[in-house]
């Protein structure tokens, strides 16, 4: 049997003719071919309703494609049994527009959650959580509750939680959607730094002004199709 795992993976993410049709008949994505190289940072843009969120949801296995293949890290995730989905998600960092923090837990506990889920030793948890909080500049806020933080700070907690496991792939859905331009630029700089460390990122955003200054690939979606003009 060929050793697939031994094969050097140059593409961390590959979509082949991926479509998503909802039971209502609405076609959210139509035959998308897309790939993201290992260590690449790319922006997914398009108007709202263009299918950006749907695409990320398919990759995060929050939804299943109607057709086509999604290969992450050399593995066809369409064939993943339901029981393996949590372990798959543990290996990618997901950042949401609505940060989804646990409101009754401290910043520290929120960031620690992915490690606790994976059964890390408390000693290692502490080190990693502080490193992640340091990266996003919130080291002095670890005891606070999410409600005590500003929107930008909450988003950075969400980012710390996504990177605390040191994933090779990060998916972000409108991570700056609720932030003012300056905070948004901060977040993007943070993403660039992760990328410099070798992390692959796919970031959905409709904020064209923000990303034109960054010299990264842009993937344009329009009406569920790739817009080759971009």
């Amino acid at each position: 049997m060929p050793c697939w795992a031994c094969r050097p993976v140059t593409e961390i993410l590959q979509l082949a003719r991926v479509s998503k049709r909802y039971p209502t008949g609405q076609i959210a994505l139509d035959a998308i071919d897309l790939s993201l190289a290992e260590g690449e940072m790319a922006f997914l843009t398009g108007h709202s309703g263009a299918g950006k969120s749907t695409l990320l949801k398919l990759i995060a296995l929050i939804e299943k494609p109607s057709q086509g293949q999604i290969i992450v890290n050399g593995r066809n995730i369409g064939r993943l049994p339901a029981g393996h989905v949590p372990y798959y998600r543990q290996n990618i960092g997901i950042i949401f527009q609505n940060v989804h923090l646990l409101q009754d837990r401290s910043v520290y506990d929120n960031v620690a959650l992915p490690l606790v889920i994976q059964g890390f030793h408390p000693r290692d948890v502490g080190k990693r959580v502080r490193a992640a909080l340091d990266t996003v500049g919130l080291l002095d806020m670890e005891r606070k509750l999410p409600v005590e933080l500003s929107g930008g700070e909450q988003q950075r907690v969400g980012i710390a939680r996504a990177v605390v496991k040191r994933p090779r792939l990060i998916l972000a859905d409108e991570p700056t959607g609720n932030l003012d331009p300056e905070l948004s630029a901060d977040i993007m700089r943070l993403f660039s730094r992760f990328n410099e460390l070798g992390v692959s990122l796919l970031i959905a955003t409709h904020d064209i002004a923000l990303i034109t200054r960054m010299n990264k690939r842009r993937i344009m979606l329009a009406h569920g199709r790739l817009d080759s003009a971009a």
Binding site: A60, I62, E63, G83, P86, Y87, Y88, R89, Q90, N91, I94, F96, H100, L101, L102, Q103, L113, P114, L115, V116, I117, Q118, G119, F120, H121, P122, D124, V125, R161
Partner: protein
């Protein structure tokens, strides 16, 4: 699961400890609601548990009554003393019979003279009208049906003119006891189901109120086992506490009943003290309650957690 370097048994134990502590904290923070739930479950369990303790007491009491209870085999007039004693020797080897006495015709007359108060009148009789008797004590736990059957067989013997046991009242007592035990089983089953349903409903509400949290957990890759854990701990904790409430209630109920039992047994010339629950029985009750709590929580978790999926 990928083998991350931080995984260890200690971390696993720590995680469970944290969840248990968190469940306790949530239970406490929900103060009155939790208290009412636990009391409701505890009372539900106290009813069959105290009935059970009472039937256990009744069983013990019945045993002691059975031990005083004897049957009489009246011998035919032509049976000699020697043959009578020989017959006793044979009958006491029967597994149904614990021990026996032989009362010769003379002994019977002497006993009758002592107890009846007809002493003088008896002297007027030329012959001793009383037969010799074998007084036999059945082995403890012998059912009255088996005993009746055995007596009928003995009556077939030529040497025995009459086999008599006033066993009707014993049969009634045993039937009543069997009824009581069955009642305990039925009520126990129904109220155990009640406990399971109460916990299931409580946990269902907990799941509903923590829906957001469960969604977040699923999004960041928490396996079902991890998400279930706090709810299962919570259900088990409810069960455990209600078991303790039930134990205390049983003690209280027995304490309330003791004066009445004392009065009743005094009227029969004995001083019966109610046997309470042993530590082992209390542990069994509490453990069963915890298991029922877990079962209720598991049912809810199984039914409702899979409905919460990110979309």
């Amino acid at each position: 699961m990928n083998g991350s370097p931080g995984l260890s048994l200690q971390a696993w134990a720590q995680a469970h400890l944290d969840v248990a502590r968190d469940s306790l904290r949530r239970l406490r923070s929900n103060g009155l609601g939790s208290l009412l739930t636990v009391l409701m479950m505890g009372c539900a369990l106290a009813l069959p548990a105290s009935l059970w303790v009472l039937t256990e007491n009744a069983t013990v009491a019945t045993r002691s009554v059975e031990q005083q209870f004897s049957v009489s085999l009246y011998l035919a007039d032509d049976v000699s003393d020697t043959r009578g004693r020989q017959l006793l020797g044979e009958l006491v080897t029967d597994p149904l019979i614990q021990r026996g006495d032989y009362l010769s015709r003379e002994d019977a007359l002497a006993e009758f003279r002592d107890y009846s108060g007809f002493g003088r009148a008896l002297d007027l009789l030329q012959d001793n009208p009383l037969p010799a008797v074998l007084v036999l004590w059945p082995a403890p736990g012998t059912s009255s049906a088996a005993l009746q059957d055995w007596l009928q067989r003995q009556e077939q013997r030529a040497e025995i003119s009459l086999a008599q046991a006033d066993a009707d009242w014993l049969a009634r007592l045993q039937a009543l006891l069997a009824f009581g035990i069955e009642l305990v089983h039925i009520m126990g089953a129904l109220l155990a189901l009640t406990v399971v349903l109460v916990v299931a409903n409580t946990i269902r509400l907990q799941i509903a109120s923590r829906r957001e949290e469960i969604l977040v957990m699923k999004l960041i890759g928490a396996p079902d086992g991890f998400i279930q854990r706090p709810f299962l701990y919570s259900g088990t904790l409810y069960g455990l506490l209600s078991g303790l409430v039930a134990c205390l209630s049983v003690l209280l109920i027995l304490d309330l009943l003791q004066p009445h039992i004392s009065a009743l047994s005094a009227s029969y010339g004995s001083a019966y003290v109610l046997r309470g629950m042993s530590l082992r029985e209390a542990a069994w009750l509490t453990g069963s309650a915890a298991a029922l709590g877990w079962l209720g929580a598991f049912h809810s978790v199984w039914r409702h957690l899979r409905d919460i999926e990110p979309d």
